[in-house]
Structure formats: structure tokens, C-alpha cells
Symmetry: C3
Subunit: 491 residues, 3 copies
Amino acid sequence: MPTPLELELEVDAATSSPRRLSLHPDRALPADGRQRAVAREIYGQTAELPLICMHGHVEAEVFAANQPFADPAQLLVVPDHYVTRMLVSQGIDPASLGVPRVDGGPVETDSRAIWRTFCRNWRLFRGTPSRYWMEHELAEVFGVDLVPSAETADAIYDQIEARIAEPGFRPLQLLDRFSIELISTTDSATSGLEHHAQLAGEGYGERIIPTFRPDAAVHLDRRGWRAEVAALAEVSGEDTSSYEGFLGALRERRRAFVEAGGLATDHGHLTADTTPMDRGAAARLYARALAGGQVSEQEAQAFAAHMLFVNAEMSCQDGLVMQIHPGVLRDHHRGTFERHGQDKGFDIPVAAEFTRSLRPVLERFGHDPRFRAILFTVDETVYSRELAPLAGAYPSLRLGAPWWFLDSPEGMRRFRETATETAGFYNTSGFVDDTRAFASIPARHDLFRRIDAGYLARLVLEHRLSLEEAVETAVDLAYTLPKTAYSRRSA
Amino acid sequence: MPTPLELELEVDAATSSPRRLSLHPDRALPADGRQRAVAREIYGQTAELPLICMHGHVEAEVFAANQPFADPAQLLVVPDHYVTRMLVSQGIDPASLGVPRVDGGPVETDSRAIWRTFCRNWRLFRGTPSRYWMEHELAEVFGVDLVPSAETADAIYDQIEARIAEPGFRPLQLLDRFSIELISTTDSATSGLEHHAQLAGEGYGERIIPTFRPDAAVHLDRRGWRAEVAALAEVSGEDTSSYEGFLGALRERRRAFVEAGGLATDHGHLTADTTPMDRGAAARLYARALAGGQVSEQEAQAFAAHMLFVNAEMSCQDGLVMQIHPGVLRDHHRGTFERHGQDKGFDIPVAAEFTRSLRPVLERFGHDPRFRAILFTVDETVYSRELAPLAGAYPSLRLGAPWWFLDSPEGMRRFRETATETAGFYNTSGFVDDTRAFASIPARHDLFRRIDAGYLARLVLEHRLSLEEAVETAVDLAYTLPKTAYSRRSA
Amino acid sequence: MPTPLELELEVDAATSSPRRLSLHPDRALPADGRQRAVAREIYGQTAELPLICMHGHVEAEVFAANQPFADPAQLLVVPDHYVTRMLVSQGIDPASLGVPRVDGGPVETDSRAIWRTFCRNWRLFRGTPSRYWMEHELAEVFGVDLVPSAETADAIYDQIEARIAEPGFRPLQLLDRFSIELISTTDSATSGLEHHAQLAGEGYGERIIPTFRPDAAVHLDRRGWRAEVAALAEVSGEDTSSYEGFLGALRERRRAFVEAGGLATDHGHLTADTTPMDRGAAARLYARALAGGQVSEQEAQAFAAHMLFVNAEMSCQDGLVMQIHPGVLRDHHRGTFERHGQDKGFDIPVAAEFTRSLRPVLERFGHDPRFRAILFTVDETVYSRELAPLAGAYPSLRLGAPWWFLDSPEGMRRFRETATETAGFYNTSGFVDDTRAFASIPARHDLFRRIDAGYLARLVLEHRLSLEEAVETAVDLAYTLPKTAYSRRSA
């Protein structure tokens, strides 16, 4: 056991100057010395594996345009609601962070000012994954060697600005630099997929693929639903004035996504309810909503649940893997939504339920070899209670990676601790990042591999797994499982 | 601190050949070296204590017949739904695993083929308690020294087959080999307890005892409820055509269980609700159900809740300890239920509630010295929120051991971490295994003792407990508490 | 790695005689050697910081009278429901512990007998925070050097009795001895604050302050509500016969609390619901209740929710920080309540909900710089699911310290592990003790500082934080944040 003094020296060596940023090679590996040594060996076998990024939110346009990133603030602060919400939570106005206003009103445009605000408040991120990812991005991606602070803000800004001006830092070039083998964008049902077509023409068709996300088309009570249905008619060539035509349009769009290389669909609903409606009742409700009639919250939720069932049925036909992301109450603060729009950090989880909610789909398709659903949650209580028992029984189910707030060192560790004993490792999907912050993708995958290495190392030291098995499992979780989980089912 | 190299050697020594199965003496003890050393001392004081098995599901007939086990697959795979569900979850058909069909249709009968499927898929069990128990059974009980795999399947089969043919491996002989001091079977209210009578005649009357489980008689909406009530009349000699007669029959059966050495009842309900019904309303509902009238799901649940209250009342009279196991939605996949029947791995937990649900029984009997209830859950969220506060106040309550999916290394650890601070150790029941896999019983008790040793070792090292106290507590948890928790209350 | 023998010696050194009580300097620091060494350094920087005690339940009268404590049992056992409930849970009658009866009936008055019962049952507290606090109190505050047991009970009694007779052990003198910089009492809306006035006259006005707790005035269905409203009229000089007058009286009382140095309000509700009622409907319901008309449970809860909204509005005007403590079902066992009254260990948590419940208040005041709410829970599931996401977004919110059953080593550790990654450290309030056991206050703060040091040490060793940052954070959590979280908002 090292003495306190030795320890202090060791710690100091890693953090020799409070102003000097460097990534310790053992970061996020277990604190315990024996566990760390085993974890290091396991991590060593996965660190360099290519990345499979099947739940990305980088826009296809970013790759199609392949322009240099604007500036450090516009790249790393303004669009990242993990970052802006933390600054807002301490009383900083979103507008002063350059977060655009819905009404086009004035917001801070001086990117240096925004960047300084961020650096000055660096301590707020202590203990958060945002801090961890940001350090990785700064050091590994942009070659920054200073810890953010009021004093270092400008110097860091300059370093990043210089780096993103280099030709090797354009989006498509970063794919190689980041070892991204496959990345999926997230696209609305009405997307014409033009950017994907362009990218396919440039040889990226199998590397950058779309994911079909029909949320805006299935929530009758969301603003703009009728516009979405009209757009759906246009892009699909189907007549969506009837419910049958609406289904036909969705089927047609799914076909177009498959043709564009798509492997999956994605569904963000308030609940995981999948109860189907009677076909006649669904058609009547659809017609009423389309005619501008009143639709209650309950009716809208029933229709959304029904559409999960319908999409599951379609997945059996076209083989697209179904991703379900329930349990988030969007736009909790109306004022923020009205001033700044969606995805501004005010989406708050609610308690989730899967056992009863998924039963209709699982009764029908749960054992169908053509069906595959990957489940996500921001309510950890369902890991051991519902998700692991379900995934440990139904062949169609896989558990997705810890999602959103849970995509973090402690969150990932708890996921393994609470899900593995019942679901095993092989009913999980491996890592799926979930970000619009492109530059953070390598950090996220790397963190997952480190945390998994730590968990597996403990199993090895507790003699619950051999080292050989642990390494094999780690490789499967980092690379093999995401590929097989998202392979298109043969219809 | 060992260097990585030393560590590697140490790990290798434990797993020197990937094909060679051996149990490390420190398995499931804490990974940390200091904690492990203390845990080893604590565990050393409990490892050899006899087993008290008060929630078993081995059939009394198995002991009464005392025949050799059929073969490895029929012993270790086919009847264990923990094992078959995991294989099913990866697309293997239950029929190909020999799981009998309700309609008597064909299933795999080649036990070697079933065993090979199991061994070939050994990796699916990584990180699960099934893997841990099975390793223990193979190595400790059957003397197997090979790791399961496609290549080793036949050799392992031969080793087990030879061992179970030995006279010392019959069920009654294993009681001694396993150091089982007391084992309870689980018997329906209509059981004539003939096997127990036979075993009593052979001198096993105080070692193999029945537990009274009236579930089939109290759920009005289950298939076969009326047949159960008719059988109840027959075995009890009471006229169950009225509600009063029904209660009389239950009272009479409980008496017979007490006479046969029974110490406890067991209740598996969807919820923990114990709200009593008005006696007249209960009688009318009973009469309607018996006459084949319509009973709604709500009415059936209300009656089941009422019967928990009634059984609590009866426990005050006859002193049987009441075990409550709520929160599982049985037979989630109807198709599997219809093809293969109950207990096939498709029982999925739902959120549990105890605070309000138990209030009626606790208001009435919670301080009654004649009453004892032991509570189980598969929803961990209630440990710190509801169960520990309840058991830490009401003298009639004890917390049962982590149950079902939670009967696992991480599950047990979390139980101690979340329940102990509020309930203390002495409001828990100690370990209660819950299995129909007879050969896994020693593994389960051993694992519990190891995990508890690890938890107690941490408390010692954090100076929250002396080593002497930790050892005393460990012995109490492993042996003393299960005996005292299940001692019949003096009425 | 120490050998088992070395370890045994080391452990023995700390616990050399089972009868000899001594506090190990490293107690409650991490078991792991490396983590402990770092934690020790961090803890060293916070151990001596003054205490900010913003949620105390010591009566103002105790300080105003400043009398010696009665005797060991009356000081440490009888009034502490954490202690009595544990003894009750093992079948000991509250009356035999001297817990007063509502009807004034006989209870044990021999304090030595009560103390002996407590000491004889010392083992029940193993693994609980009560044990940890009590050891600290005995050793640090009262200089006891014996472990409680049947044999040592009288000797310990004598030691404490002698100590509390010393002039330095009176309540006001203990403020200095305990380094309490600021302590808040909890006072009903109808309190005349006479003791605070007296203390202010003695120069304690800024050190001992009141907290405004209007619970009895806002729950229409609680016994004595009308008497409370009448008392409110009297003390405020407002006419509470109308709803408007009732609001005026509350406003006036809040003003008086502000004048007496109060910084906060406190609200104990069954749920966190903050839905406002229509003003007319609230007035009518108030009038009906005041006239003795029937008020349903739903109506009473709706009114209580409304009053949370109203109090939030008032906080924006007078700057009092709002503390919300929901989710406890009070007086679960009616018999205990009727015999012994409130706060006797039979308050049991229920599942909590914050996301939807707080929305009305947060929509309106969540971004108002004059508003501050500090949230508490006894349902841990909301930490990562609801509370951290809310506090990590809304500038008005802070997360309070782990509360009640969760104010414990494991509870605190889980709080940091589940809340920090999303809320950060700086959206928490730092430590707030919650006790009527005055002598346990230093133990509670000290424990919190040790657990936080352990958590921060792990982050340092995982290279997620520098040691310098960890120390700064620890100081903020122990001292700076409680002061700033509870600073009165400028209206």
C-alpha cells in the first residue's frame, strides 16, 4: 500500500499544474490498484476498435456540406444542451450563451464572449460526464493543453480555432480520425434523404446511413402535425388524407430509408405503451385530427401507442430494427420552449413502465425472428425490475446502452451492475452514443470501454469470469454486439 | 500493491486453462485485497454452518421416492427456468431444450442433445448467478473439472451421469452431503401431504416439512379455481359451497400443515394489497364466482387482497409465519404459457408498493406478538423506501432475502447496502433460497455467505463494526436468523 | 498488500477490546487503502469547518431556557425516534422506553431502566447510522470509553450524567463546543417567536434563527386545523375568517419570521404537487372547511398543493428560501399514533414524483432570481430520474442533502453517485442535518464530510478531478454551499 506521501506524488504527477490539461492513461479505470491493472489489460484490447455509431444526431447536412466548423463556441457550447443547461442552472441567460431565439430576437453573437462564460464556469462541470468528454475533446481532438478558466479562455479559443481551420478537421475527414466505421443520422419520416443520396454518390453510402424517426407524424397533438402529414404525402407520393394512405406513406418512407442503407427506426414517446387500437377507431381518430377536430391528450397518447404497435408490425416486414426511447417529458419549462425551442435542457424524465406497456407488441412479435427491438430508458429503476427480465426472456429484445443522463461513468457502472445478472451481456446492444456533439463521439465510446473494462475486471478478480472471457466480452460489447444488434432482420 | 505482471500471474493461476474448471477459494469475495482478507476470516466462520432452507420448491415426492436423478439435462437444464429462458432469449426454441408441451406434443428427448446446446451457449451466462451456481454444482457436487463448451459437453455429461448413478447421490442422501438441517417444500392448500406423511414415517418429519401455499384457492380468476375449491372440500372434509365453509376448509388445511410440521405459509400475489372486504361482500363475490358468474379483474384482485388479510388473521391463531411474494406479472407471453405452461421464464416484475398495501394488516396485527410476516420483492426500489422503514418499526415484520432475479452477487450486495441502515441486520430473515434446482442449494447459500462476508468486511474496515461483531452477525445471518424468523409463533 | 495476519493486527488495534469504545480517525473513510489516503487529505481540510445547521428540530425553548439536560435516557433515547423505533421493531413496548402517552397514562420513568434496555440491545444498531452517531456522541461529546452492553450500561450512565451536569454542557455552551455558526429551529406559523426574541436580546439573534413551517395551517383535514387558523389570527392580528385574511395572516407571519432572522420556510407534504387552484375555488373550499363542512382527502390534498404554489409566490416577495420535504405517509400505525402521538418512528415513505408535481411552480417561478427552492426526498429513485435533471436546469432549484433514512453512509454515497453527474456539485445545498437530537449534530456533519471526502477521493484516483479541485469542492459542500443556498433572496 503506498503511503500518503507516495500517493500524493502520484496524484500530483497526473495533475502537476492546475492549469495544465493532460489526460491520464488510466482515467475512468477503477481506483483500486488491482482492479485497475486488470482493467487496463482488458481496455487495451478494445481501445483501438472502430466505432459503430447507430444513434447519432449529427445532421446529414454536416457531412454533405463538409465545411469547417464555425468556431469553438458554436462547435462546443451553443448546440450542446448538456453544457448550456448547466450554465443556465446557475442563472446564466441562454441568450447570453448564443442560444438562438425562436423569434429571431437578439442573442449573444460574440463567440469569444460565449466561450469565456463557459471557461469561467468550468467548475460547475466537476463530476459530470460533460467535463469528462470536454477534456477528452480538448486534449485529444484539438490538442489543447490548458485547463479552462477565465485566464485561459482566450488561449484555448485560439488553439481550437486554429485546429478547426485545418483541412483534416472537416466532418468527413474526422470520420477517419475518429475511426468511425458506421454512423447513423436521425431523420424525420418526411426527410427526402437528399444529403444521404449525395453522400452515397461520394462513396459514403454504407458509412453514413439514415435512421427513420416518425415521431412528428404519430403524435396528433404536437404543433405542426398536420403539416408533417402533408409533407409526408408529398415526399412519399401517397395520399395521406386517409388513415390507410397514412400507413402507406409510412411504409413507403421506410422502404426509402432501407434503400438508403437505413438499418433502424427510432421512437421517442412519453410512455412505452404499445397497445394497438381497433383499425376503425384509429382511422376515425386520424380523420378527426386531420380535420382539425379536438383530440384529447389521452387520445393522442393512445394513437402514439398504437403507432408503436404498427411500426413493430412494419419492422417484421422490412427488417428495420426498432429503437424505443420513452419516458421523457419534453419542454418542461414552457417559457424556454417558447423563447428558444426544443432540446434546450428542459426535457425531464418521468417514471417508466415497460412490463405491461410492451406486452401487446411482445405477445405478437416477441418471438418473431424478423423482429428486433432495442430498449432505452432514463429511469434506472427498470433495469433490474423490468428491462433485464424482459430482455433475458424474449429473443427479439436487446437492452440499449445507458442513455442520456445515464451515459456517464456512474450511470454505465450501475447499468452493468443492475442489468447483467438477469439479462447477461449478450442481450445488450453494446455501446450506442446519442449526441449531436460530433467531436465528443470518440470520448463517449472510449469512456464506455473504460467503464466496461472496470466492471469486467472486478468479475475477473472475484473469480466470476476468466480474464480470457472478460477480454472476449469487452470486444463484443464495444464492437461485435452493436453490429449484430443493428443488423437488418431478414424479412 | 502487486504489479500488473504479478497480478496477471495470480489471475492466470486461477484460470490457467480455459478448459479446466476449478473454483477459487476466494470467489465472490471482494476484489479489494484488504477487504478480501477480512471477508475471508468472516466467511471462514460461516462456511460450514448447516443450511436452513425455508422457501424450497423441490417436490416432496422427490424425497419420498428417493430415486436417482434421470440424467444431466433433466436434472440441470430442463426444469431450471433461469437456464432455459436465457437460451430462449437468444432464439432457441424451448421444445428443442426438452421443455414439455402442455398438449403433450413432441419436444427434444435426446438429453445429450439438450446438454450440448446448453454447453455450446455457456458464454450467454457470463456475469449471471446461473453461471456461478452451475460452476459450483459442476465442481463441488458432481466433481466435473471441465469448463462447458461444445467440445467438452459429452465428457461433462458422462462425468455427471456416472456421479448421479452412485447411491450417495439420491435426494435423501444429498441432504446430509449438503448439510441441510431443515428443508421446506411448497405445497398447495389441497395437497394431502401424503409424501410428508411417508417421510415422517421414515424419520424425516422434522427435517422435510411442508409450506402452505393457497394461491390457487384465493385467485377467483385463475383457470381451475373452481376445481381447486372442490379439491379443497374433498381433502378438508369441509363444505366449500359457502364462503364460511371455504374459510373453514382453509383453517382445517392449515391445521393439517401445522400437524405435518409446517412452519409457514407462502403467498404469491400480483400486489401486496391486504385491504379486507366486508364479510358479506366477500361471501357474495365468492358465491358468484363459484356459480360461474362473471368476476372482473378488479374484483378478483380485491378478493385476493382480502384473503391476505384473512390469512394474516389465521396466522395469529395458528402461529404459521406468513411469507408474501408480490409484484410479478405471471406468464407475460401467452403463447409460451399456452404451449409450455407456467414457470417458463416469462414471469416479469412490475413496480411494487408496500407502504399503503400492507397498512390494513399492519394496523391490525403489526404489533401482535403472535403475528410474523416475511416480505420479499423483485422491485429493489422498495428496499430503502418502504421495506426497511416498515421492518425497522413493526415488530411483526422481517425482510426476506433478495429474491429471484435479485438472488445474485450484485443483488445481495445492494440489498445489504440499501436495507441495513434503516432495518438493521436483525430485522432481516437471513438467507432463504428459492429454487426447484435441488443441486444448486449449497451454491446459493454459499454465495450469500460470501457476499455478506464482503459487506461486513467493508464495515469493519470503515470502522463501523468490530471484527468480532461482524463474525457474530455473519453467523446470525447464515444460521440463527432463518431459524428464529421461521419459528412458529405461540398462539 | 497486507497479509491477513497484519490486517488482523491492524483491525485489532482499532478494536482491541470489545468493551473499549474508541473512534478510529479513519472511520467512514473508504476501505480501500489508496482511496483512504486521498480521502484523509480531503477530509483534513473540512473537518474543522464551522457547522451551518439550517434544518434543525431542536426547540428554541431549549436554548432560551439553557438548562442542563435531564439524564442520559431523556437526552439520548426517549426523544430520538430513530432509536426507539428500532427497539420497538424487536418487540419492546414504547411505554417501557419512557415514550410519553397521549393520555398521560403510566410509562417507564426509571431512566436507568430505559438506558439499560437500550444498552442491552446495542447489537440491533449494527450497520445503522444511529450506531455511528451514538458512538460519536458517547466518545466525543460525553467522553465515554465503554461499548454499550448490559454490563456497561450503568457505568456509561454515570459518565454521561456527570458530564451533562457540567456548566459547559448546557445548550448554548454546546453551540461553541460544536462549532455551530448558525442553527435554525423549526417553528409553526403560529409561533410567537418569544424564545427567539429572548435569544436575540442575549445576542444570539443571528446564530439561532427560526424557520417558518406552516404545515398545520395548510392541511384542511388534519386534527386541529381550525384551532391552528384561530391561533394564526391571534398571533398575526389578521382576520382569518376569510381566505384572503388567511393569506394575509401567513404573509404577516412570514414577515415576522424574516424580522426574527429567518431565512427559510419548510413544507412537509404527502406529495410534491404544486398545482394552484382557482382563487375563487380555494376561497370557497377554505370557507367550507372553516365552517366545519366535509372536506374530502382529494380536496385537502388539492388545497395543500395550492398552498405550496402560494408559498412559492410569497417567497418571491419576501425572499425566504423554500424547503420541500414530500413523500412520507405519517403515522402509518394508528394505534401508536393514538397512544403516543406523532414522530414515533411510524412515518413511512411512499413513491415520490417531482417532474410533473413541481411543474406549475417551476413554469411560473423557476427562472425568477428571487425564488429558491431546496428539494428533499426519501425516495432515492428520483435522484437520477427527476431531481438531478430538474436541478441541473432550473436556476431556482438546489438539491438538499440526503434526508432522514438516507442521512447515512450508504445513503449519502448513493446520493453523490446518482445526483452529481447530472446536477453537478454546485446545484446541491451542501449538508443540512435534520434532527431533534442536539448532541448528534456534530456527528452528522462529520459523517457527511467523511463520505464526501471518500467520493471525491475516488474521482481524484479515477482522474476525473484534480486533488486541488476536490479539496475546494469539499470545502464548498461542507460550508460555502449551505451558506449561499440559504442566503435570503433579494426581493
